[in-house]
């Protein structure tokens, strides 16, 4: 992850929303780096800022939201502060996003072929026939049967799983370097979810794209991600290699999340739960945001903890469960 500098580097990103009831710090000092071919699982519950992190990278934050600080570099090029036209050239071309609801991507009154060729021809001068051939190949790649017929269909003629495949095909049309997937399988059935994960895994591997997989479901990232970053109340509270974070969580919140998963508890026993609920981002308490729900909270937690990094692993806690900082593993 160090050879020629990372593909995507996010440093000190802060995206705030200036609402009537105050400033909502949706993303507050988020940093991570991503290498080519790497899969990052960005995990958090609703309101943790994981989706806004994705939107910020894509330049899709609308007022009253604004990136107030930090930098986002794609192959060394700074994206924060780029103009609309320059961002438009990157979006759908070098960076693409797959949304939870495929109808965010698809235009309901436009045939699939038009939507797909438009995506290609917005970024490249190719003939209509060549664009159509590429669109067809993309549909085949995501496992859509009878692609010629499907190209001439409208989105409402597809099932939910098929629509999500089309959305993924569109995202991958221009072979982007970075794909951001925002819970694309959450609304899908188990067997369809397996198919989509299979396709995404294959496509990122073949194309060498970096993938950010945003989810609240630890069981999805466990099998997919190389690295995991856990977000809570706008901040990354823990990050590291997938296996390390899941087998030896350092932050009490990560531990709590893992413990609440039913399959990690003896059948029929009470689930180990995290007390309380996620705090409102508009009225965050001073100090560590997790303090009021944390079983290990002490007087030190009144001060916001800094990220302690070591050996590719980081935790934002005064009293971590696993010693990450001082005695990093060999």
């Amino acid at each position: 992850m160090s050879a020629p500098g990372p593909l995507l580097e996010v440093a000190g990103l802060r995206t705030h929303f200036f609402t009537r009831s105050g400033v909502v710090k949706a993303v507050d000092d988020v940093s991570f780096a991503l290498a080519r071919g790497e899969v990052l699982g960005l995990v958090g519950e609703s309101g943790s800022g994981k989706s806004i992190t994705g939107y910020s990278i894509m330049g899709l934050v609308d007022p009253p939201g604004r990136i107030v600080a930090g930098s986002i570099r794609l192959s060394g090029r700074e994206l924060v502060g780029l103009g609309h036209e320059e961002m438009r050239r990157l979006r759908g071309n070098r960076m693409a996003m797959v949304f939870q609801d495929p109808m965010m991507t698809l235009n309901p009154v436009m045939r699939i072929d038009r939507q797909m060729t438009e995506t290609i021809r917005a970024h490249e001068r190719v003939s209509a026939a060549a664009a159509r051939a590429r669109a067809r190949a993309a549909l085949v790649a995501v496992g859509i049967p009878s692609p010629d017929e499907r190209l001439a269909s409208y989105p409402h003629q597809f099932s939910g799983g098929m629509r999500q495949r089309v959305a993924i095909a569109i995202a991958l049309l221009n072979r982007p370097d970075v794909v951001i997937a925002d819970e694309p399988t959450t609304a899908l059935d188990v067997t369809i979810q397996g198919q989509i994960l299979h396709e995404m895994q294959k496509l990122t591997r073949d194309a060498g794209a970096a993938l950010i997989w945003i989810t609240h479901d630890l069981s999805v990232v466990a099998g997919l991600a190389d690295r995991i970053a856990v977000m809570y109340a706008g901040r990354i509270v823990e990050h590291g290699r997938c296996a390390d974070v899941l087998s030896q969580p350092a932050h009490p919140y990560t531990r709590g999340l893992l413990d609440s998963v039913p399959s990690r508890n003896p059948r029929g026993a009470r689930l180990r739960q995290i007390p309380g609920m996620t705090p409102s981002l508009a009225a965050l308490p001073e100090g560590c945001a997790f303090r009021e729900r944390c079983p290990r909270a002490g007087p030190a937690c009144a001060q916001a903890p800094a990220m302690q990094e070591s050996g590719g692993r980081g935790v934002r806690c005064h009293d971590p469960l696993a010693a990450v900082a001082a005695t990093a593993g060999p």
């Binding site: 059935d189 198919q195 895994q201 999805v220 099998g223 709590g256 609440s260 059948r267």
Partner: protein, 353 residues
């Protein structure tokens, strides 16, 4: 209710007491009749036919007192329709509903009404199932007043007790649903169902919309309430992890039919039906191991035009000629376990339909 009447037809094992709730070969068809345009077209010989969906197709299910039965299936398999049939929110188009061994249809009206009140439903979406213009005190307190369980003057005190029981602060009862978080709203839905003192609860995807940490809290609440109030659950979910955790017995549905049922550990440990196996293979685990996702082929077919024979055969890796022609019947494969598949050996005991 008078306890199990002697006139119940003998079932597979007469030793056991009558189930609390039993659905016998119950069906629900939804018919979209031919509209005016279609009728006009038909006058010219267009042959437009009414569309029929067999949402639930001759399903039999029995829930014993105190049991938690998990009902699993993907969207469109008819599990929610079955849940609504079980509590009586939908009338069946075929089959019988039994309450403590008595057919509900044969009961006198008053008794039937009383029995009906013992069955309640907790809905999936805590946003859509609470009236946004009603205060919590009315949402939870309305039904007990209507059914004469309390007087209107006792409402505030009674609702306070109900809210306490589900872990909500009673001082919030004057608030509206939008002033609560998702987890709190789920609790309001539970308090509303429990306010009429039910014995049988159908929970339709009641934790699906919640975050992991809140989901754990609500599941714990379900289990605490079950112990405290002697409740019986039909727990509908697509989340196999959740179902495995809380159910005693599991029923798997595919396109309107039951494909497999059995005690939770036996079914999860050794699934018999190819569809159950496919579902279990799709379940993620939080074990940090890179794995290749091996998908089941194809999608759930449209219930408007289900495939002939076994509904699962177009996606099944083991399908043989017989599967395409003849629908397999649910057959006992081991004590307490049943599967509907031609390729699964029935237990020597014989078969039932």
């Amino acid at each position: 209710m008078s306890a199990a009447s002697a006139g119940v037809a003998p079932r597979a094992d007469p030793a056991r007491a009558a189930p609390l709730v039993e659905l016998r070969s119950i069906s629900r068809r939804f018919v979209k009749p031919v509209d005016v345009a279609g009728r006009i077209a038909n006058a010219f010989g267009a042959g437009v036919r009414e569309e029929v969906v067999h949402a639930v197709d001759r399903v039999s299910i029995a829930v014993q007192p105190g049991e938690v039965v998990g009902l699993v299936g993907e969207s469109g398999c008819g599990k929610s329709t079955l849940g609504r049939l079980a509590v009586g929110l939908l009338a069946p188009t075929g089959g019988e509903r039994m309450w403590r061994g008595e057919a509900l249809d044969a009961m006198p009206r008053e008794r039937r009404r009383a029995a009906q009140l013992r069955m309640q439903m907790i809905f999936q979406d805590p946003y859509a199932s609470l009236n946004p213009r009603m205060r919590v005190v009315d949402i939870v307190g309305e039904a007990p007043v209507v059914h004469g369980m309390i007087t209107p003057r006792q409402k505030v005190e009674y609702v306070g007790l109900q809210l306490n029981r589900v872990g909500l602060d009673p001082t919030l009862m004057r608030r509206f649903p939008h002033q609560f978080s998702g987890g709190q709203r789920a609790r309001i839905g539970i308090a509303r169902a429990l306010a009429v003192k039910p014995e049988f609860l159908v929970c339709d995807e009641s934790v699906a919309a919640l975050d992991v940490s809140i989901q754990a809290q609500v599941l714990n609440l379900f289990m605490d309430l079950r112990a405290a109030l002697d409740l019986t659950y039909l727990f509908i979910s697509h989340d196999l992890g959740v179902v495995r955790h809380i159910s005693d017995r599991v029923v798997i549905m595919y396109l309107g039919r039951v494909v497999e049922s059995g005690p939770t550990e036996a079914l999860f440990g050794d699934p018999a039906h190819p569809y159950t196996r496919a579902l279990l293979a799709g379940v993620g685990s939080v074990e940090p191991r890179k794995r290749s996702f091996a998908p089941v082929r194809g999608e759930i077919p449209s219930p408007l035009a289900p495939p002939p024979g076994c509904h699962f055969h177009p996606r099944c890796p083991h399908a043989v000629a017989r599967c395409r022609e003849e629908a397999p019947v649910l057959t006992e494969i081991a004590p307490g376990r049943a599967a509907a598949c031609w390729l699964v050996e029935p237990s020597p005991g014989g078969r039932r339909s």
